[in-house]
């Protein structure tokens, strides 16, 4: 089956990202596909390339990137929720006159319509919050 995941919990604040990653890897091991992970609400912080947890803790940003690299899972971040919270790509940083940025590929800023499309396209949508 094709699954969509909606992640609304912030890294190192909520266990939701850990649960979602564990779920994602097991899904793939069981032979399912993941149509996309959509980050919304506090979940947009997962996309921050600037997170720097201690070496002996899971780096959630890196873990998402690895999931993408190994399985081409799209990592979509709600642009409105992200910009409000200071998560932005180089292009958005320029557009908003900011000196730095913290979101890079494979994370993509996208509209909320992408979440609705994911929900309609996938056989299952599972929320982690």
């Amino acid at each position: 089956m094709e699954y969509g995941l909606l992640v609304m919990g912030a890294p190192y604040t909520s266990p939701a990202p850990h649960s979602a990653l564990r779920f994602a890897h097991t899904l793939l091991a069981r032979g399912h596909q993941i149509g996309g992970v959509f980050f919304y609400h506090e979940g947009v912080h997962n996309a921050s390339a600037l997170m720097a947890p201690p070496q002996d803790e899971l780096n959630l940003h890196k873990a998402w990137v690895e999931l993408h690299n190994a399985h081409q899972v799209p990592l979509d971040v709600c642009i409105a929720a992200a910009l409000r919270r200071g998560i932005m790509s180089e292009a958005e940083a320029k557009r908003h006159g900011k000196a730095s940025f913290n979101l890079e590929a494979p994370f993509e800023l996208t509209g909320l319509g992408q979440l609705l499309t994911l929900q309609q396209r996938c056989d299952r949508l599972i929320t982690f919050a």
Partner: protein, 95 residues
Amino acid sequence: MLHILTKAPDSDAAQQMLQAVGENDAIILTEAGVQAALHSEWGGFQLHSARIFLLAEDVTAWGLDDAVASQALTAVDIDGFIALTEQHVQTVTWY
């Protein structure tokens, strides 16, 4: 329908979930939801005991294996969690 509860049994999320659970629905308790193992009087167990599952990894992490065993609750691993989402077209998370 499968209901995922990630908050403790005395939370607003848990109360709202209980109002929404129907006859053929299943419930999986994850994250803080596994604390329900400490509350045998929780409404969920009264109403839907046969269809409640606890995520084993979270049960162990929270130190609740004995509570689950002594109450004869059903723990499933993450494969079991995914199997539940395969069986139910609709999944709602209460958080």
